[in-house]
């Protein structure tokens, strides 16, 4: 009779499970660490600079005298990039998704989906290079008043970078719409345009919204393209042809220099990063909530 004793001691199985749990817990520890570190240093920063001055001040100059710690120019810079990138990525991404899910043949899909994946996999520093050496010269030829470093080039390129994600998510949303809905619409004497725009897209709308929100979140967090092409001058403006600085670019600028720990300048890194983190976190959570809602409808 085979022995009923466990082949491996019980404690081995348990300790293995413990090890695995620790691995999973590392992610939680990471989040806690991020929150703690950002909070602590931001708190230190806010001892010297009031919240009001930080969030509503219109001049950002932590490195040059006279020093000033108003975040609005950086926020404006980031916003400009986000708006420009959205103008590129959202319509184009949506149109690509509609083509992929409603019009493309199997063969076209098999070519296009990998192409989009390649676009998505190109490192951001390459996009920054492209913005500086290709987009900016063209922009300056067409609109000579454009600065060498300008928000528009970076925004266009960030839009291209984010476009595959929008296309892919919207495509998923449209493919989740059951064919029976399309058949019902066609059987009422509708054209493909009407079925697509008045049944499929509305049915997949929450997926589209989630995609848009995620795209905006990505654009906000984008660093290298804006560092290379948008400039390093905090500038409270809505003119995309001017040189600006985004929150992310500022963080890079400070890191490239030598900043001793404990100084106010060092702390600005964390304060700006805290704002960045909070905004992207809220957007990501919102996108996830929207996506959960549309998954329920077709369950």
């Amino acid at each position: 009779m085979l022995s009923m004793k466990a082949r491996a001691p019980r404690y081995l199985e348990n300790s293995l499970q413990g090890v695995f749990f620790l691995c999973a817990a590392i992610s939680t520890i990471t989040t806690v660490a991020v929150i703690v570190i950002l909070a602590v240093e931001t708190w230190g920063f806010l001892q010297h600079v009031s919240v009001v001055e930080f969030l509503f001040g219109t001049r950002w100059s932590p490195l040059l005298v006279p020093k000033s710690y108003g975040l609005l120019p950086l926020l404006a810079g980031t916003t400009l990039i986000v708006i420009g990138a959205s103008l590129v990525a959202l319509p184009v991404g949506l149109a690509c998704a509609i083509f992929l899910s409603e019009y493309a043949s199997e063969r076209a899909r098999n070519i296009l989906k990998p192409v989009l994946e390649v676009l998505a996999g190109i490192p951001t520093v390459v996009y920054g290079f492209f913005a500086l050496t290709f987009v900016t010269p063209i922009l300056r030829t067409v609109l000579p008043e454009t600065d060498v470093f300008n928000a528009a080039s970076a925004a266009i390129v960030v839009g291209i970078m984010v476009l595959p994600m929008v296309a892919s998510l919207c495509d998923d949303a449209f493919r989740a719409v059951p064919d029976s809905l399309r058949e019902g619409a066609y059987s009422l004497g509708a054209t493909s345009f009407e079925v697509t725009t008045r049944v499929v897209v509305p049915a997949g709308l929450s997926g589209v919204f989630a995609a848009f929100v995620l795209a905006i979140s990505r654009a906000i967090g984008e660093t290298m393209a804006v560092t290379l092409a948008a400039g390093a001058t905090p500038n409270l403006t809505m003119n995309p042809l001017e040189s600006i600085q985004t929150m992310t670019a500022y963080i890079v600028q400070v890191s490239l220099g030598d900043t001793p720990a404990g100084t106010l300048t060092y702390q600005t890194l964390f304060a700006v990063a805290a704002v960045l983190f909070l905004v992207t976190l809220c957007l990501n959570i919102a996108a996830n909530m929207i996506m959960k809602r549309y998954q329920e409808v077709y369950e």
Partner: protein, 253 residues
């Protein structure tokens, strides 16, 4: 078939295949105006394929090929110059599973007419369609609620209303009650009796009792071949073909 009955849809030697495999073989069949014609037969015998070919819904299936002539009031449905969208304006379809749009009840019914540039009174059209589908009393107070909140039977009647709002000449029904409970089924069958005063109906069903209750003419298909076609009463009580007799008495299928 008496001579007062007029042929509205004529299927002449139709063969339909998917990717090389024949689903409908040399079927010739005449549909009569303002009558209910039932198409019965075991699963996979090609009845749905045949039905879908009547309003060009097979166009959406890749690799589906068709020969023979199907004509609606003597116009070839598959002629190069025929607009499939216009075909579907005049020949509507109700599907096996209710497929209302995730919109309000009102929008579901109003969708078809408004797409087609209807410039009359939309409210009136919606009410008329819902009354004809015997759904008006149940939904008149909640027209702007989501259609997905309705029960299965109500959703199917909504789909019927949606089709009726287009005022088609023919309504094709692909096993419209197979996903419904007996009570809803009975309600829809009652509905059909009323509808046939104004519409021609072709109904595919695997429920023989339903076919015998509801239709005036019945066609029996097996393996894509039209085995028998005639007055419903005759097909069920005194079929001329042995296979028909075996099917309707339940010996197979």
């Amino acid at each position: 078939m008496s001579s007062e009955e007029k042929v509205i849809l004529n299927i002449d030697d139709a063969c339909i295949s998917y990717g090389g495999e024949l689903a409908v073989r040399n079927v010739s069949l005449a549909i009569y105006e303002k009558m209910i014609t039932a198409i019965i037969g075991p699963s996979g015998c090609g009845k749905s394929t045949l039905l879908r070919s009547l309003n060009r819904m097979n166009d959406f299936i890749h690799g589906c090929e068709q020969t023979g002539r199907i004509s609606f009031r003597d116009e070839d449905l598959y002629d190069e110059k025929t607009d499939p969208v216009e075909v579907r304006l005049r020949i509507g379809m109700v599907f096996q599973r209710p497929n209302p749009f995730p919109k309000s009840i009102y929008r579901n019914v109003a969708w078809g007419p408004s797409i087609n540039g209807f410039d009359g009174d939309l409210d009136e059209r919606v009410e008329k369609a819902l009354r004809q589908a015997a759904l008006w009393d149940e939904v008149k107070d909640r027209l702007h609620e989501s259609a997905l909140n309705l029960s299965g039977g109500q959703q199917q009647r909504l789909c019927i209303a949606r089709t009726l709002a287009m005022e088609p000449e023919i309504i094709l029904m692909d096993e419209p009650c197979s996903a419904l409970d007996p009570v809803s089924t009975a309600r829809i069958e009652d509905l059909l009796f009323e509808l046939k005063e104004n519409y021609t109906i072709v109904i595919v069903t695997h429920n023989m009792q339903q076919a015998s209750r509801v239709s005036q003419h019945t066609a029996f298909l097996e393996n894509g071949v039209l085995v028998e076609y005639g007055d419903t009463e005759q097909v069920f009580t005194n079929p001329s073909n042995k296979r028909t007799e075996e099917y309707v008495t339940g010996r197979f299928g």
